[in-house]
């Protein structure tokens, strides 16, 4: 199996207040459609890191 070397992936730490801000913006009954929430959340967790070492 060809494992790519130098595979430095670390857990992404998202400050709790960032998530809270996202969800506190509106009560559940006024939240945007779930796919919009999904896009916002995934952006927080996976915004392309500037220093990816994943080869």
């Amino acid at each position: 199996e060809n494992d790519v070397e130098g595979d430095g992936v670390y857990p992404v730490v998202v400050a709790p207040q960032k998530l809270a801000e996202l969800f506190n913006a509106a009560p559940a009954f006024a939240m945007p459609p779930i796919e919009d929430m999904f896009n916002q959340v995934t952006k927080l967790f996976s915004s392309k890191p500037a220093t990816t070492i994943t080869a």
């Binding site: 730490v13 998202v14 779930i34 392309k48």
Partner: protein, 452 residues
Amino acid sequence: KEAVDLKAQKAAHSKSLIFEPRIAATQNFQTLYSICREGFDDLCRLDAHFVSFGTTIFSEQSRDEDRSQMTQDENAELDKKIESFLRLVGSRLRLSPAIKALEWLIRRFRIHQYNTAMLIATFLPYHSLPAFTTLLDILPSTLPAEFRFLDPYKRSLTQPPRSVLVHRATHHPEFMSVISQYTLQSCRSQQHYPVLISFWASIMLEAVTGMLDMMRSGRRSVQKSNDQALLHQIGPVLSEALVMDKVSDLQIAAYMITVAYVSHGDLDDAVITALMDQVVEGWTPSTVRPGLVCLSILAHHRSAKQTSRKTTKALLKISGLSDMLVVIGKEHTVEKLAYGFCVALVDRLVRKGEANGLPIVESVISKQILSEQQLGFVVKSLILAAHKTEDDVDDEGRARKALASTIVRLSQAAGDTGRVFAKTIEDTGFDVEELEMKLGTAIRPKLIASQT
């Protein structure tokens, strides 16, 4: 004693979502029914799913039904109807017809006493509205154990802030379990609605990351056992939600939570692989895009290895996959998923002689989705495949022919691809002559051409 009973009865009868206790106490069921039935009829006009309740808990006959006179079985049957109605009416709680209809169930069937937990769970997504405090006000003084943390809000008649619910879910697994089970059950019975799913997902997501943060502060060995405990707790919920293909919103919500869980945590590859398999098992045309985003992020947090058989098969079925990956790649890291998929496709060719993945490998390469190092590995695996693929899996040589044309095209490719291809051959010291014999085609002149 009779006087005391009568007083208690009167007090019980005065619990209302709409009327002042003083007025409620004087109302008879005849009057109440006509008011509440109006609300119910309005609901039926909004949504025909309500209609069937018109012959049971909202029937004329219901005016004379008294729970205390019913048998245990009759009560259980009634509870089922009530629960089903509550799940359905959950989406309408901000409308006055819904409150009027609920008023009937409270006044006639005392659901605030008999179905307390279910009623609270139904109202919970609306915890920030005054209706929630009105509900708290009429609930029995002792709340069900899982909701006892709401006591201070019941006493002070204030609305619990969202942070309190998140905190509760983070520190008390049973509360998270209650809202998860309520949500899942509503989805199973197709009585879900967007507000419920958003509410559940947002609380769950913050609670999961909160739990991970707490765990990170412990010793490594403690962390590992905590990880297991958390997986045990949320794994089954996520698993079910990920594959619930009739409820797209729930699947997308589960992708979101899974992304947070895997990105924020430090999970073993096996767990991530299992989650990836569940994502592809459940996705449908309406969830495949967010599903792919989720899969890309999950793959990013796994060591760089080939995708599992199940994930590979599912990815093969997506038309225009490489284009989708290019689009997703603008915001997310897709390289590792693409790499793992290409390696798996080449492996499939070697093991089974199946060459239908080659066009995808070629397209991933030509769209420059891979990093240079990954590209080198994929090229190497293609050349190795040419050496390894034998008659036993490819007796007519079709796979090798397809492989040969892929390799020839790649070696001719302009730019990075051709360069990396030539360099890989050079670095690995492959015998080009032997390779050409094996594939029955000429690579060398083209190789040299691509180097110049």
